[in-house]
């Protein structure tokens, strides 16, 4: 029963995401422009550094760039306020009274959304890059499977962060501040702007252990075979457990704060 409900929610998330076809083209265009700019900056830097920074040559750097842009959709890097919006309108009261856990409910929908986004946004985005430039591809079926696992875990980590940032609106009343702060932390600390290995060693080590890296740099590292997949996936699993538990605690606190005004 519970599994069937989850399945329905995943399908609902998928369908909602695929409703806006025209937006897909506009999004691909925009992310390509950003990939061109970011790619050019990284190439100029790598040339200036003598051909290699932290194991990234020009081919790997371009692959990284197009992967990072491709991940924007599935990971939900910008503007995801589905739950915060429902808190503002009061619809969250309905969500709390459903015979399913709030976090579970929205995670299932988000997995459907991310799946559709991967197929219709991320894959075409990366293909555009692969057609225009020489990029690195995983060499074996096993590696592709590891990429799929790491990407799925990255979506769950990102959902865990977004879920908490969205529920924060119960206390701040206005969602913009917390959601923007969440996006900026994700962009700045996840390895989205530059690969984390470009940072000085100690700092790079620290950043890899923080939750944001598990959402962006982790699947990229597995794709590029840059680090041990087991270690990367291990850190991701740790953050999923931690963030789901933290989300549950925030959810319980929010539930006791909720006042439904009748009429």
């Amino acid at each position: 029963m519970r599994l069937r409900l989850s399945g329905e929610l995943v399908r609902y998330g998928w369908r909602r995401q695929t409703t806006y076809r025209g937006a897909t083209v506009a999004g691909l265009f925009t992310n390509s422009v950003f990939a061109f700019i970011q790619g050019a900056v990284l190439l100029a830097a790598i040339r200036g550094a003598g051909g290699n920074i932290g194991g990234y040559d020009t081919t790997r750097a371009l692959t990284y760039t197009w992967l990072a842009q491709a991940l924007i959709g599935p990971i939900g890097v910008f503007r995801w306020s589905d739950i915060a919006d429902r808190v503002k309108t009061g619809e969250i009261a309905t969500d709390f009274s459903r015979p399913a856990d709030l976090q579970h409910w929205f995670l299932a929908i988000d997995l459907g959304r991310a799946g559709a986004s991967t197929v219709f946004r991320a894959v075409p985005q990366f293909l555009i890059g692969a057609l225009l430039f020489e990029l690195v591809l995983p060499g074996s079926v096993g590696r592709w499977l590891l990429v799929a696992v790491s990407l799925t875990l990255a979506v769950v980590v990102s959902f865990g962060l977004r879920f908490i940032a969205n529920l924060a609106v119960f206390w701040t009343l206005e969602p913009r501040g917390v959601l923007n702060a969440h996006s900026m932390l994700l962009v700045g600390l996840s390895g989205f702007i530059i690969p984390l290995t470009f940072f000085p060693d100690g700092l790079a080590q620290l950043l890899r252990l923080l939750p944001w890296a598990s959402a962006i740099q982790a699947p990229i590292d597995v794709f590029l075979d840059q680090r041990s997949a087991a270690a990367v996936i291990g850190v991701q699993l740790f953050w999923i457990i931690a963030l789901v538990a933290a989300g549950q605690a925030v959810q319980r606190a929010a539930q006791t704060k909720l006042v439904v005004q009748g009429g």
Partner: protein
């Protein structure tokens, strides 16, 4: 427009924008978090540039302080444009929901109403961060200061605000052509700001033409900075390009108003 009309418009703009500012400061905790986060966290963006420079001495021929000059000067201009003009991002939403029609029956221009409909007060934080980066740049570069160079440095901020605001106006016109293309706006607004932070000479010819000259971000900071920092204007372009920015800003601003009016004139309501 007569002088009296202009004065009335300016007064109305101040009243409306002031009201938006006050309303955003009502949720104090959220606004404080928002402005502070946007000030502190945008440094993460600049940190990425500093990290790149731990591996190299120059990006193209530009040192870290020279890139910081571009980043800071263009960044202030973009943040101010974002502050006052980014409500234009909602044009698409208004057209889709039919609310845009309401603007057309009010006794004020639709562009004026879009510009006063909301402001992005949090961008104050981003402007502050860019100013700090500019200060860092000025401490690290040696400039033979003349009154003209001081004027040009300040001018970059003004020109940047005008050019990026015009880009917001032009890009928002896409809302009248397609209902789901709003994301393409970001390519030239945020993309333009991203592009303007870096020296033009590191980009390939097509990107340079499109993002530097079609979307004229090269005139925001790059060409004036060449003059201020005493660098030659590249690509065999004439030296006076360094001084063309105010003219380009005036042309783009005028052009964007004309394009907006044409679009609104041809606009047919969705009927919903």
């Amino acid at each position: 427009m007569s002088t009296a009309e202009m004065r009335r418009t300016a007064h109305l703009w101040r009243v409306l924008v002031g009201a938006r500012a006050r309303s955003q400061m009502q949720y104090r905790a959220s606004f404080a978090a928002d402005a502070l986060a946007s000030f502190a966290l945008t440094f993460l963006d600049f940190v990425a540039i500093l990290v790149l420079f731990t591996h190299l001495h120059a990006l193209g021929s530009w040192t870290v302080h020279e890139v910081a000059f571009l980043y800071g000067a263009a960044g202030i201009g973009f943040a101010l444009a974002d502050l006052f003009a980014s409500n234009l991002e909602n044009t698409s939403l208004l057209v889709r929901t039919g609310q845009f029609d309401v603007l057309l029956i009010r006794p004020a221009g639709s562009l004026f109403q879009m510009l006063t409909g909301d402001i992005s007060l949090r961008s104050v934080g981003k402007a502050g961060q860019a100013a700090v980066v500019l200060a860092y740049a000025l401490l690290g570069v040696t400039i033979a200061w003349t009154p003209l160079r001081v004027l040009m440095t300040l001018g970059i901020v003004v020109v940047g605000t005008l050019i990026f605001s015009s880009v917001f106006v032009l890009a928002s016109c896409i809302a009248f052509a397609t209902v789901s293309g709003e994301e393409a706006m970001n390519a030239v607004t945020y993309g333009g700001s991203f592009f303007a932070q870096y020296p033009l000479d590191i980009f390939g010819p097509w990107l340079r033409r499109f993002m530097g000259f079609v979307v004229p971000t090269a005139f925001v900071a790059y060409f004036p900075a060449c003059y201020v920092l005493g660098k030659p204007v590249p690509f065999g372009l004439p030296d006076w390009f360094a001084f063309a920015s105010p003219l380009v800003a005036a042309l783009v601003l005028g052009g964007s108003v004309v394009v907006w009016r044409t679009c609104v004139h041809r606009y047919r309501s969705t009927g919903s």
